[in-house]
């Protein structure tokens, strides 16, 4: 196995969301593709600026919701029409209108659980350790500061050049992130 780069990336700190979005755009346009941005609240359009446009959450929720609904309906049909048929008020064993409510609830249940778990899984959470936390200033990423990082795995990454480039973005500070 190749030795891990001791530097995880170079990180710049900004004061405003506007500065972060502008810097992210410039960095992406300058040819850096493996970058990420951190903010204390969701910023509309920021993910697009760093080249992230599609996420898999809706598909996960759709599939799980359909599975939930189908399994809900099949469960009721199998229980009440096949395995243990009971005559209730002379209704047919397979009386689909009375199965709708639980089918609906199961769709919501599966879809809802998959929305949370799918989001966490795709985001790679829970993740107890991450190199960005090595930067002491990063504690402010959950308060009022905005960060941009260029990963050392990026093709265009160069310890000196990238640092120079990031200095030119007019950040509050630039720091190396040890991995």
């Amino acid at each position: 196995m190749a030795k891990r780069d001791p530097i995880y990336g170079i990180m710049a700190e900004f004061d405003t969301p506007q500065a972060l979005v502008d810097a992210a755009r410039k960095t992406y346009e300058a040819g850096y593709k493996k970058i990420d941005a951190y903010s204390p609240f969701p910023i509309e359009g920021l993910a697009e600026e760093i080249g992230f446009t599609r996420n898999g959450v809706p598909l996960v929720v759709l599939i799980c919701g359909l599975i939930g609904g189908a399994s809900g309906y099949l469960m009721q049909w199998w229980c009440d029409a096949v395995d243990y048929p009971l005559n209730i008020g002379g209704r047919p064993y397979h009386s689909w209108p009375s199965f709708i409510v639980i089918t609906f609830e199961m769709t919501i249940l599966f879809g809802g659980i998959s929305a949370l778990l799918g989001m966490l899984a795709l985001n790679g959470l829970p993740m107890p350790y991450h190199p960005v936390f090595n930067v002491p200033r990063f504690a402010f990423a959950s308060k009022d500061r905005f960060f941009l990082i260029v990963f050392s795995s990026d093709k265009k990454y160069d310890a000196v050049e990238t640092r120079k480039f990031m200095q030119a973005l007019d950040p509050r500070s630039v720091s190396e992130v040890p991995s």
Binding site: T16, P17, Q18, V21, A24, D36, A37, Y38, S39, P40, F41, P42, I43, E44, G45, L46, A47, E49, I50, F52, N55, V57, P58, V61, G65, Q76, C79, D80, D83, Y84, I88, R91, S98, F99, V101, I102, F104, E105, M106, I108, G111, G112, I113, A115, L116, G118, M119, L120, N123, L125, P126, M127, P128, H130, V132, F138, A141, S142, K143, D144
Partner: protein, 456 residues
């Protein structure tokens, strides 16, 4: 056009008082959890609520020992307080989901400062609600029979029954509410993790935050998932009280067997829920100095929602009375007559006063913006909505088709202890919540600040 828009904007109270920064909202809300010492007032309040919770446990313990014979339920009134309280509590929970999910989809940004504790209110209210049917089944230790699981008796639940639908609706509702609440808390857990100076506190919040670091990719998926969850919770919350109303409407008891029940139950649920939101928000914003975030605008908007849903409820009462006459059905007509002149008539008049007449004062702007007046009106509405469920359950059951089976309902001290005990449990949970979790969503408040705007 633009000027007109601006001038009405100016007349309205702001969603968040001007002058705040990202740092100041973060510090102000997280300080309540991290640095503010617990005051004597908190201990007294929590102590009382905790003792009421103990009373609840005592009442439940005795119930386990003796059976539900200690309650006032008997034939013909087999449902009694247990179902009245169940419907009342679950209705209260609905406002939380309405605020967090439906108002999110409608892009009502004022929701951001009240959604967190409204969702907490939902969770605790659903927990209280869930207790009642569980105890009311008579042998609570066998309540798991309600769920379809492979068993040696080789039987399955009867899925054509609205009571089974209710099991699925309420348990799904409880699960989704908890998920929604937890998901909203993740970024705020990260904030608390980074703000706290004690190691063990950082460990706890850090574990809950699961390594959240606010990456743009993460936020992108997070927002999608949050919106989808809101989209799923919206039909869910409407379905839950609809299914609860099916428990009644599918039955043939006069006063229950009607199609107006689902919409009228949902409106009533939101009505009582907003009343509870106000009863919690008004003291909380005062005690914790959160008037900057929970402004007059929030109180006023909640009052307007109550006014609107209250009118829908009034329409429901009107339709019930009209159908009693128009259907030409002797029993339906008698149900209405019995409400107005029967042994429980004073309750019905009190219900009309609490739910229809008194809340009309909310048309007056001065009262809509007065916290004290709103607090009192909310209490009146909550009482009225409890009476409504009492009328629906008890008054309909005590006079059914056969004169020989008529009866009267006498709740026992155990009924009252259980009911007030759940109020204690609810308040004790709210007291704890205020101390250990940020009661206003910090990251959503940040997005409301003018500094958060980004131009393309």
């Amino acid at each position: 056009m633009n000027d007109q828009y601006n001038s009405t904007e100016l007349q309205r109270a702001p969603v968040i008082e001007p002058g705040h920064t990202f740092a100041s909202v973060t510090d102000k809300i997280s300080a309540i959890v991290l640095t503010r010492p617990a005051t004597n007032g908190w201990f007294v309040g929590f102590g009382i609520a905790f003792m009421a919770t103990m009373m609840l446990l005592y009442a439940i313990g005795y119930l386990f020992l003796k059976g539900i014979g200690i309650w006032g339920v008997t034939i013909p009134i087999g449902w009694g307080f247990a179902i009245v309280n169940f419907v009342w509590w679950i209705g209260i929970g609905h406002a939380g989901t309405l605020i967090s999910a439906i108002l999110l989809l409608l892009r009502q940004s004022w929701r951001n400062s009240i959604n967190r504790f409204a969702e907490a209110m939902t969770l605790f209210a659903v927990a209280c609600a869930g207790l009642f049917p569980l105890l009311h089944v008579g042998r609570p230790w066998l309540a798991y029979w309600l769920f379809p699981y492979p068993n040696t008796m080789r039987v399955w639940p009867q899925f054509r029954s609205p009571l089974m639908w209710d099991v699925f609706a309420v348990s799904t509702y409880a699960t989704i509410s908890a998920l929604f609440w937890f998901m909203g808390l993740i970024p705020d857990f990260a904030t608390l993790r980074d703000r706290s100076d004690k190691n063990w506190i950082r460990m706890i919040y850090g574990t809950l935050a699961m390594g959240w670091r606010g990456s743009a990719r993460h936020w992108h998926r997070y927002e999608t998932a949050y919106l989808l969850l809101a989209g799923l919770a919206t039909p869910l919350v409407l379905s839950v009280h609809t299914v609860v109303s099916f428990d009644f409407a599918i039955g043939i008891v006069p006063g229950w067997h009607t199609t107006i029940f689902p919409p009228y139950f949902v409106a009533g649920a939101i009505y009582s829920g907003f009343a509870m939101v106000l009863m919690l928000a008004i003291p909380i914003r005062k005690i914790y100095g959160l008037e900057d975030f929970i402004t007059t605008r929030h109180l006023q908007n909640s009052a307007k929602v109550m006014l609107a849903t209250g009118l829908i409820v009034a329409y429901g009462y009107g339709v019930e009375a009209f159908m009693g006459w128009y259907s030409g059905d002797t029993y339906d007509a008698f149900t209405i007559w019995n409400r107005l002149h029967g042994p429980y008539a004073p309750f019905y008049y009190a219900l009309l006063a609490c739910n229809i007449f008194i809340p009309q004062v909310l048309w007056i702007r001065k009262l809509r913006t007065s916290p004290v007046a709103l607090f009192i009106i909310s209490f009146v509405i909550l009482t009225g909505m409890w009476l409504e469920r009492f009328i629906i359950v008890v008054v309909s059951l005590h006079r059914d088709f056969l004169n020989s089976s008529w009866g009267q309902y006498y709740p026992t001290r155990w009924d009252y202890m259980t009911f007030f005990g759940t109020i204690g449990m609810f308040l004790a949970a709210m007291f704890l919540f205020c101390r250990i979790l940020p009661m206003i969503s910090i990251f959503e408040i940040r997005t409301l600040l003018p500094q958060a705007e980004v131009k393309e």
